[in-house]
Symmetry: C2
Subunit: 420 residues, 2 copies
């Protein structure tokens, strides 16, 4: 992408009341736009990042048998009334709306009810199980508090997978597979080292659920970690009784702030009982289907990456998530520089690198470097008169380290080592 | 995909009040599910088709300089009040909802207002133009009439691209590029031969807009076509004065029913005037930005394909849009048959064909063939004891023609010719 063609620009001014690091950096760099508090659009650079995160999650969900679908935001009341979650007092994040005939609809904040009802059409026998449908779908939640940028929004894409199993053992096994897939996802997204599988309250059907908590000093959550044993417990259930189960006391844990980037939960028969999702087992007996749910918000993940990967100059994208892998900066507008830049741009594109080329003729070098640091692509290549003379490129990693000079004819192998 | 693992099943029963061919076939085959009238979920097979349609459109939009983004459904009133489209009387398809503090929000039925407002942040000079942002985004429209399956729904993904140009000439040129891209899209989607670029009313800023109308006896629209000159005119503007401009009379046209699968429109300064989207030209003078809009609903396209590509047995997907390219039917459950089927399944997957394998052991051959015809993949390969003996496969095209017998060792080259 030639930067002169990119319709967004970086900016120095921010909407009032933007207090979070993620929204400040993403708004300044032109990755997102603010429609209203808690409602953000994804502009081309932000959309690319969001889609890469979605791509990683999709691959890992498909790898554990997930089948992608797309449910609807608009919801009729019946299924939610059956589980007693239609009332705004019972679920306090509903957005409600009305059809022309006056009947009330809801905008789904989650999808257990409609999916459980839907699965009744396809599940009747043990032969129909297990099933693992999932989606990337836009949820609506009427949040009172919406001051955390894209970490907590009123409209957001969520990956929600639901497991439908024959029995507790099948659920338990799938739950562990999903947990392992989540660990892999956060590793691939560059958050692995600071993301903890965290014990959380399990509800009626299981002692624990698990949250994936990424350490961050601006996180809304508080967790307690024991690094030696790699155990993390969320605040809700952190007490002597629980720590004892791990052979530890509360004093063995350190309090940390964190952002919840994912959670997995054994639902048991909570929804299948209310909505009568049953199957006939091998012996001919009717059994309730055993469910689980597995959520990740790609937008929240993106916000978490920005919160944890930045410096005073801007964002530092992990290499597999960056909007572009390489940012070429043409230092000056001489014909020789522009020609060599274009040659390099075409060469890298042809070698399947993703390249942003700052080809703008009216922007000075200082502003180009500032924009490049703000946008945060992993590798910056400077093309200048002097570098052309020496038949080399000047390379700088956004993550840090000294500039390197790479001979022109070695650029592809250098970038391959650096980025693949 | 092994069919035994696919969580959906075909069905013979339909929800009451489903009268359209597309929803009947898509519900029966398990491609979609009905949440309520005019609101449908996409199940795995349907989701694959929808995504392929989106993929084709995305490629062609990128090819004409489109930059993908994602705006929000939730809308604050200000921009819509500025163009006088907030009032339900002025735009009668609004779904409205409320924040906890009581302020009213809308669910966007289209995105001219928020995008025009957004572009004010990035457009100030002629150097910032032209720009061509687009999105695949879920629109909400409070339709009174919702009886056409996925052709007209209350919630649907729409591809909407908007052009922002310096002057009429730049708009006119882009409009023609977009028109050509649309022609290419419908060709690639298998609808080219029955889709007409149709003259329609142009509004204040242009004599004509253009609709892409696909001939279909169940279509809601009526158009008039002259096949010899390849001219189509929609009912709204079909009169002697208009036909005369093409050197024809009304009698030279034939009336046809059709489905509007896309439309392109020169908006001129309608939105940039109301929302004050201006730029400074080369001479330093302030000018309004000249806009255009370009829409396609991938779900409606999918419904149109089903309406126009089917027979009494089911759907007949065009080869680039089918959920899977090849449907392997194991005829019987002998070990030899299942082993050969699996070998073929693995071979085709390894050769990058998309394969659905009916490996179900408890379904009889008649039901397998009926399901295969209903689901409508382009190529069906039958693996039977007799075929194995003869070292060949039995191939049937869903679109018609006699069965062919292809030697086992020629199957890849045969399918490559057939499907690529």
């Amino acid at each position: 992408m030639k930067q002169s063609k990119l319709f967004t620009k970086t900016s120095k001014t921010l909407p009032k009341d933007e207090v979070s690091v993620n929204s400040q950096l993403l708004l300044k760099s032109g990755f997102i736009d603010k429609e209203m508090a808690g409602v953000y659009s994804y502009l081309p650079l932000g959309h690319r990042v969001l889609n890469k995160i979605i791509g990683v999650i999709r691959e890992e969900m498909n790898a554990i048998g997930g089948q992608e679908m797309l449910l609807t935001a608009l919801q009729s009341p019946a299924a939610w009334q059956a589980t007693d979650r239609w009332d705004d007092q019972k679920m306090d994040v509903w957005f409600k709306t009305e059809l022309k005939n006056g009947s009330t609809l809801g905008l789904a904040p989650t999808h257990e009810e409609p999916l459980t009802r839907l699965m009744k059409k396809f599940i009747s026998s043990y032969k129909d199980l297990p099933a693992f449908p999932y989606q990337f779908q836009t949820k609506f939640r009427n949040e009172t508090r919406a001051k955390s940028g894209i970490l907590r929004t009123r409209e957001f894409i969520m990956k929600d997978l639901y497991s439908f199993c024959r029995n507790q053992q099948e659920l338990d096994e799938y739950y562990e597979r999903a947990k392992a897939a989540y660990v892999k996802i956060f590793d691939r997204l560059g958050l692995g080292k600071i993301t903890y599988v965290t014990f959380a309250s399990g509800g009626t059907f299981s002692k624990f659920s698990h949250e994936f908590q990424t350490l961050c000093e601006y996180g809304e959550d508080i967790i307690y970690i024991n690094e030696e044993k790699n155990i993390a417990i969320n605040r809700e259930i952190f007490n002597e009784e629980i720590t004892k189960e791990f052979g530890l006391t509360m004093a063995d844990f350190v309090e940390k702030k964190a952002i919840e980037v994912g959670n997995i939960f054994k639902l048991g028969t909570k929804f299948s009982d209310s909505l009568e999702l049953n199957y006939v087992d091998e012996s001919g007996a009717k059994q309730p289907v055993i469910m689980g749910s597995y959520g990740i918000g790609p937008g929240r993940v993106m916000g978490t990456i920005v919160e944890t990967c930045n410096d005073e100059k801007g964002i530092i994208w992990p290499k597999h998530i960056a909007p572009y892998q390489v940012h070429i900066i043409s230092l000056g507008k001489d014909e020789a520089i522009m020609q060599e830049s274009e040659r390099l741009y075409n060469l890298l594109n042809a070698s399947n690198f993703e390249v942003l080329w700052d080809d703008r003729l009216t922007v000075n070098p200082g502003a180009k470097f500032a924009d490049s640091d703000l946008i945060g692509c992993p590798v910056r290549i400077t093309v200048s008169g002097k570098n052309i003379e020496n038949k080399q490129y000047e390379i700088k990693n956004r993550a840090g380290g000294d500039a390197k000079f790479v001979p022109q004819d070695q650029i592809i192998s250098f970038l391959t080592d650096e980025l693949k």
